[in-house]
């Protein structure tokens, strides 16, 4: 039996093939667009620049990368808009009016091609960055696959939005104006407050903000993409399929958006000050484990960094006399918000970020604040917003603390300002011992001790005297086996007790 194609079948085949050809043509043109590739490279470069030198935290990095990818999203939107308005430009409408392919097919092809290319490029850039960044060291945080998928969908949504704007407002300026308007929205709602959860993606995230309702947000974005395609096609007439698709997409987008907005984490600073303390820490309870004499408390998902902290603490702990082992502090990971509250017990804080390459200042600070705690300095912790700076000059325990801190880590010169980087917050730290200031003489004697054989035995033997706050350098030098070598400076301001 011979199969005979009916005219309807032939027509359907022809339309299907032509749609594919048109989509492929638009795709090839987009892939040759320098603007698109420049944006893709820029997103990759910017994200690499921001994260260069830091260990990967997937809780924030997926969202922050998605936020940076909005640059690519904006360019995709403009390109999609240009593709959609092409029919109206350069005097082509007359020529295109006499071709058998209807304008709605061109609209659909532009929407499909720009959405596919935009989404693929966005996925490629984000995937490549996250993969390379993940190789930088121990990965912490939680990878939420809906977040990058949401960003990819957002790019597709921006593409079809560009096409819809091009069809309904076929002016060359409409696309760039729309991008500008959305940029303003992102600028003001990029961290999720004031309705930002409805928007494409969130530009920035912190670990303690809690998990975003990324699943329902993805559904919202997908439904919005379908809705916008339907709206673009409605420009060519209200056909039942288009109206039906628009209504169905709206029926999904609206509840998904409401769910997303209602489950969005509350950001403390969007609340009145007296209510901020009541906002729970979404990271959960610390996971604590004891290694040698030290307890390390990390937030769930961040325990992969404990070996790094342990490596810093091990030489300090080894230099503490057994009798003083009880003074060894707990190493506790803190968010910026944790750090604004008074320290709990004998703890030293470590942070939600950690360098991947040279970590000298971070290591020196952890070792130094731990050593200061061991020798009993009360203002040893680095507490944000609590002005407890004191002066530990001419105190024997300052030399001991620096000696402990310098067992393996470098000693920082007094007054050398270290940028304390935690979750993007930068603060100058002028002392390795936290808020206890010291001078060049304390540092000089500590260095002499580190060079001197038998220093450990002498320090252990005179420990109780040496760590007493009232013991001066002059009194300590004989106990330490050191001769007077550096001019002793008097304390300035409040003396550390």
């Amino acid at each position: 039996m011979t199969a005979v194609a009916t005219p309807v079948t032939r027509a359907a085949t022809r339309v299907g093939g032509m749609r594919t050809a048109l989509v492929m043509f638009e795709t090839r043109r987009l892939l040759r667009s320098p603007a698109l590739w420049v944006a893709a490279v820029a997103v990759f470069a910017l994200r690499t620049f921001y994260t260069w030198g830091w260990l990967p935290d997937l809780t924030t990095e997926t969202i922050n990368t998605a936020g940076t990818a909005l640059l690519l999203t904006a360019v995709v939107m403009v390109q999609a808009n240009l593709a959609a308005t092409r029919d109206q430009r350069h005097g082509l409408p007359e020529t295109l009016g006499a071709v058998p392919v209807a304008a709605e097919v061109r609209t659909l092809a532009a929407a499909v091609a720009t959405a596919a290319v935009g989404a693929a490029l966005s996925g490629l850039v984000m995937g490549l960055h996250l993969l390379i960044h993940s190789l930088a060291g121990p990965v912490v945080g939680r990878f939420d696959p809906y977040e990058p998928l949401g960003a990819v969908t957002a790019t597709a949504l921006a593409a079809v939005l560009g096409v819809a704007i091009g069809r309904w407002l076929p002016w060359l300026v409409a696309g760039p104006l729309a991008v500008f308007a959305f940029a303003l929205v992102v600028l003001f709602t990029g961290t999720g407050e004031a309705g930002g959860w409805w928007f494409l993606v969130i530009a920035q995230h912190m670990p303690e903000w809690g998990d975003r309702p990324s699943g329902s947000h993805l559904v919202y974005l997908l439904a919005m993409t379908v809705l916008v395609v339907a709206v673009a096609l409605l420009r060519h007439g209200p056909r039942p399929l288009r109206v039906g698709a628009a209504v169905a997409a709206l029926a999904v987008a609206l509840p998904a958006g409401i769910v997303t907005a209602s489950r969005a984490p509350v950001l403390p600073w969007t609340l009145p000050r007296h209510e901020q303390a009541a906002v729970p820490n979404h990271l959960g309870e610390h996971v604590c484990e004891k290694r040698d004499a030290v307890t390390y408390c990390a937030y769930p998902g961040y325990t992969a960094w404990v070996p790094i902290w342990e490596e810093i603490m091990r030489p300090v702990v080894a230099a503490v006399p057994p009798a003083a082992a009880g003074r060894i502090p707990v190493v506790r990971q803190e968010t910026l918000r944790d750090n604004r509250t008074p320290a709990v017990g004998r703890t030293v804080s470590t942070w939600m970020v950690w360098p991947s390459g040279y970590a000298g200042p971070h290591r020196a600070l952890l070792a130094g604040t731990a050593a200061a705690t061991v020798v009993g300095m009360r203002s040893s912790g680095l507490r944000w917003g609590q002005n407890r700076v004191c002066d530990a000059r001419n105190q024997a325990r300052t030399v001991v603390a620096l000696w402990l801190a310098g067992q393996k880590e470098p000693l920082l010169s007094p007054g050398s300002h270290v940028h304390w980087l935690a979750q993007g917050a930068t603060r100058d730290i002028s002392s390795q011992l936290g808020e206890a200031q010291y001078g060049s003489s304390e540092l000089g004697y500590a260095r002499r001790l580190l060079e001197q054989p038998g220093a450990r035995e002498r320090i252990w033997a005179g420990w109780d005297t040496l760590v007493r706050p009232g013991t001066t350098l002059a009194e300590a030098l004989p106990l330490l086996g050191l001769r007077e070598e550096f001019p002793i400076e008097a304390p300035r301001g409040t003396t550390c007790r």
Binding site: R14, G17, M18, F25, H90, A98, V99, P100
Partner: protein, 285 residues
């Protein structure tokens, strides 16, 4: 044989202006020239025939189909090649891309076949070596040929060309004539032009339009014959006539009544055309 185009009382109005006024016309295979002054309604008529503009009244049959019906209109477009008066170009496309884009929109779905077809039409208009050149870098004449190339895609049965020789140099015009006459051997070619020489050289039939109406239908010879006995050559400028001009050999060519001292000359298509248009043409001359 059925005519390719058959129009009955076709009318079109822009506001108060009656641009097409009850046009009755039949056009069959071969090359037909459409002559007329600016504003005569030529481009409007061609746009109606190319299905980009719907007439207000009257009936049309194009390639045996009624363009008022959506499905028939699509079928007409599949078999139609159209070069509008102002074809437009995408400056950032290459010549190949522009023609390929139109080829896709003309349902050339198979990529290999489509590329072959694009190369063929580019060769037809002598742009094969410019295929990869961006349109913005092409000269005006090249762009006009590029626009003509897209109209030739798929070897359409009906080719409508609105002033296709604008911007072409003499050599290109000669090549264009050769191409059109070759196409006219097997298809229906309708071209609008101001160039009466093109009509004389190319067209088997001529339609002259004025004020939205057809004022002449016939052969180029027929239009020239309209001026038979009304074309005069004299050594002195005629005193009574307003429609005369000095020719290259220094003599005066006069259209109209017999002039004293003048001798009768052989009429041309242009002579007939100018006489058909009457006063407006005299004023224009």
């Amino acid at each position: 044989m059925n005519p390719t185009i058959s129009l009955s009382a076709l009318s079109k109005r822009y506001g108060r202006a009656q641009v097409l006024d009850r046009i009755d016309l039949e056009i069959g295979p071969g090359v037909t020239g459409l002559l007329g002054p600016n504003g005569a309604g030529k481009s409007t008529l061609l746009r109606c025939l190319a299905t980009t503009l719907a007439p207000d009244a009257g009936r049309a049959s194009i390639l045996g189909r009624d363009p008022a019906d959506a499905a028939s209109r699509t079928e007409i477009r599949r078999r139609l090649g159209y070069l509008p008066q102002d074809p437009g170009h995408y400056p950032h496309f290459t010549a190949f891309e522009l023609v390929e884009y139109v080829a896709i929109l003309k349902e050339h779905t198979d990529r290999r076949e489509r590329h072959r077809e694009v190369r063929r039409v580019l060769a037809e208009v002598d742009l094969a070596d410019r295929a990869k050149t961006r349109v913005r870098k092409l000269s005006g004449g090249m762009r006009q040929r590029l626009a003509l190339a897209q109209a030739l895609l798929g070897e359409p049965e009906l080719i409508i060309l609105d002033e296709p020789t604008v911007g072409l140099d003499p050599e290109q015009r000669m090549r264009f004539r050769a191409l059109i006459s070759r196409l006219g051997e097997s298809r229906t070619v309708l071209l609008s032009t101001h160039q009466t020489e093109d009509v004389a050289a190319l067209c088997e039939r001529v339609v002259v339009m004025n004020h939205g109406r057809t004022v002449f239908e016939g052969t180029p010879r027929g239009i020239a014959e309209v001026a038979a006995g009304q074309v005069w050559l004299s050594d002195e400028p005629p005193a009574a006539s307003r429609l005369f001009w000095r020719t290259a050999d220094g003599r005066y060519r006069t259209l109209g009544h017999e002039q004293p001292g003048a001798v009768l000359a052989d009429p041309t298509v242009e002579d007939g055309y100018l006489l058909l248009l009457g006063e407006p043409a005299e004023a224009a001359a």
